[in-house]
Symmetry: C2
Subunit: 470 residues, 2 copies
């Protein structure tokens, strides 16, 4: 099955092609109505309206029973009164009015309704009954539901917002999140690092459209090259896993699973009503589908940065360069523990290193230790990096450095330009402020700790092996 | 055995009391000579001399065969020419001259010689022979050796430097490191977070004084409340473990072990000549001695920040507060996986929370989810934190927050003032810049990821249990 580009969908089943077409309309609406935005302080609907305005979406409508105008947008008292074409509704109305709003949306022929309102399936009793009612109303029309209890869709290329103040630029990362706030948090956090998103969808309780539907969509979406997911449970595990395996062959899927413990799973049930499922089953599913598993927000982003900025390595043989023996030793440990090998340098490379690496207080065995003197001699680093990237026994580099001078990084980039090997810089806690700045270009990734760099590179290798069937 | 304060050494064996007295003289020298500092560019000796000058050490001497003056300090051609009293020498001379320098030091009656020069026991053959020779010379005199292949001693209260540009202020953290650069890196990194050190010693190849000696010293040192260690191997494992167990009863020892894999251990052998020892034996030793184990630089510092800023919790029951359901769920997972419990809130606390937490899109079960609306309502956080810290079923708090307004943190601190329960703030990747600033005061610790917070709190609980014999 081919997943890259609209022209290459022929391997997808008809069902998945239909979902793609259906979601394309919802993700590229001719008009959007925000139901429940008001001028009250702290009104979430207005905050989202700000998001749409700021991204530049033009055909915006607001529905509210009492307001005349919100943020300069004319307000209608019901959806039915709008005469323009609307394909997407984003609903913030009180829980008890949501059925009526969805009914009006179906009558208006709206393709997708995002229900942001909470208090449905994640609460027992009345909440669950209301959710069922809303689903039945939508199904009788031709309307698909996203949520409830979510923040909906961010899609910068079609100017859809799921919060205020999001980046306008598109990028290759798609995200599916069962937590609305995490969806927003990751978008904002990664934007600061120069990483941009194609589509981010928060799917909440998944009363209708679910994570598998969005995976089918992002899998076929030509804008999306990498997929991030935060999931607490899936409604249709068989289809989800089947899709995950097929999509993984083309695009990495990085997954953070919430509810991996009994206590966490119980919390997930009150959060999105998801059944988190047994951890062992999940673990097996992740291994079989080739998904990349992360166990924290930080690990998810560390993995994303590797897949975003670095090429896939040919193999798992890492070379390590440091000016600090202790860092070299511990990064070697971390590499081994993260499934990498510590490369055996070629005789040619060793001869090259012998020519310029001082003989005392250093080591030209991998991990290469350039010694304390290298603090005053960045050229030693540059020459060493050149020798190592040119060694056929080396698939990737981990470099710790005492200097983070931009001109030094520029020179390293020159040496590694065109080399299809991942290069990870290991910053050190003493130098961590450098991490806050966006990278100068792709081709290298920077991690604040050797173990985090080794972990992320280990995931690249594991994914490469999955794709090549090893 | 009591380890806190000079007045309480009576439980220590005579051998350990002798070591303490011997090292006290070396750590508080009447004069210091730097051998091998010169005016050449990139001279390490001069860089260290800068460090001593900047810390304000006054009785400084320099020995160099050709220089007349370095940094305004009069230079002698041999140690023997110095007439003032000198208790510590820091040696940067070329390897082949070190024996002669040490001989002169013994004749001068110098108590301690730090040999920074590399190329001894960590290299086979000639290096190892030279190291043995130096040891024999020192033993014939009454001189103790630190190193070779190290950076020696940082002790701000007696103005000793092991690098340039170190903080002048003392604090309660002692450190023993077999990597010189890591010793310096941690000092600088933690200073940026407001953490200060009592003594930092880099012990290199440990040809004479070794990690166990320094552990005995820091264990008895009244200035030291927490001990950090980076070790690749120990020379006298039985004594080290015996000491570690005894010291741990009074002061937490946080250990990062390098060379935990075969490849890392091989690298350690060329780094400091240390025999890293089997990982399983180390793991058992760490468990039995009550030491706190960290597996990366980041984890070491995360643990240190918990022990530095937070009180020891009475038990392992954690309460979690978030405005993001997904973070609450995953922090609950992380707590369980790090050996904590997720507290069952008392009926009284639940009733209190019910009074002010909105009923929809929230949860008053632990993890407490305050919902998206709390973005606009920090008071909700304050009231919730108050209710939770006052619950006897709660031993510690993990708080994620959307607001990092200093006045908000100030208000949280007011609520938790005087409460002897650890409070960890979980920042989020989107808000990570806050992490760069020093904490406003002790009493809370801030972590950029829920898992890292749970890990650090889990270590506090494990240590508390070790101390109380559970």
């Amino acid at each position: 099955m081919h997943w890259s580009g609209k022209a290459s969908l022929k391997g997808a089943t008809e069902v998945e092609r239909d979902i793609f077409a259906e979601l394309e309309r919802i993700f590229h609406p001719r008009g959007v109505v925000i139901v429940g935005a008001s001028n009250s302080d702290g009104n979430l609907g207005r905050f989202f309206l700000d998001g749409f305005i700021q991204l530049g979406f033009e055909k915006l409508y607001v529905v509210h029973p009492r307001e005349k105008e919100v943020r300069g947008v004319k307000t209608y008292s019901t959806v039915g009164e709008i005469s323009g074409e609307v394909d997407l509704a984003v609903v913030f109305s009180p829980q008890e009015t949501v059925s009526q709003v969805v009914r009006e949306c179906t009558l208006k022929g709206i393709k997708g309704v995002v229900v942001c309102t909470s208090g449905f399936g994640e609460k027992d009793g009345e909440g669950r009954r209301l959710e069922q009612e809303v689903v039945e109303i939508a199904r009788r029309g031709d309307t698909r539901l996203i949520g409830p209890n979510c923040v909906g869709i961010y899609c910068p290329s079609s100017r859809l917002a799921n919060f205020g103040f999001l980046p306008k630029e598109s990028g290759p990362v798609g995200m599916i999140s069962q937590s609305g706030s995490l969806a927003v948090m990751f978008t904002v956090a990664e934007a600061a690092r120069g990483i941009r998103f194609s589509k981010v969808v928060s799917c909440g309780n998944e009363c209708d459209l679910n994570a598998a539907d969005f995976l089918a969509y992002l899998g076929q979406d030509p804008e999306t090259r990498i997929i991030l997911t935060y999931l607490e449970g899936v409604k249709d595990a068989r289809r989800f896993c089947q899709l995950a395996r097929e999509v993984s062959m083309e695009k990495p899927i990085i997954i953070w699973k919430g509810g991996t413990t009994e206590v966490g799973a119980r919390a997930a049930a009150t959060h999105t009503g998801a059944l988190a499922g047994a951890t062992e089953i999940w673990r097996a599913a992740i291994a079989q589908t080739g998904m990349i598993s992360a166990n924290s927000a930080e690990e998810l982003l560390d993995c994303l940065e590797a897949f975003y900025f670095l090429p896939l390595p040919k193999g798992g043989r890492a070379a390590i360069v440091s000016a600090m023996g202790g860092l070299g030793v511990t990064i070697a440990d971390a590499c081994i523990e993260c499934g990498l090998e510590v490369a055996t340098l070629s005789a040619h490379t060793r001869r090259r290193l012998e020519e310029f690496v001082p003989p005392v207080g250093t080591s030209i065995d991998n991990p290469v230790d350039l010694g304390m003197g290298s603090i005053f001699n960045p050229q030693l680093y540059i020459d060493t990096i050149r020798a190592l990237v040119e060694d056929d026994n080396v698939d990737m580099l981990l470099i710790t450095s005492s200097s983070w001078d931009p001109s030094y990084i520029e020179r390293v980039l020159e040496v590694v330009r065109g080399v299809e090997k991942p290069i990870a810089f290991v910053s050190t806690p003493a130098l961590k402020t450098v991490m806050e700045e966006p990278l100068p270009t792709t081709g290298i990734a920077i991690y604040p700790d050797g173990r985090r760099a080794a972990m992320a590179l280990g995931k690249l290798v594991a994914y490469r092996r999955f794709r090549s069937g090893d």
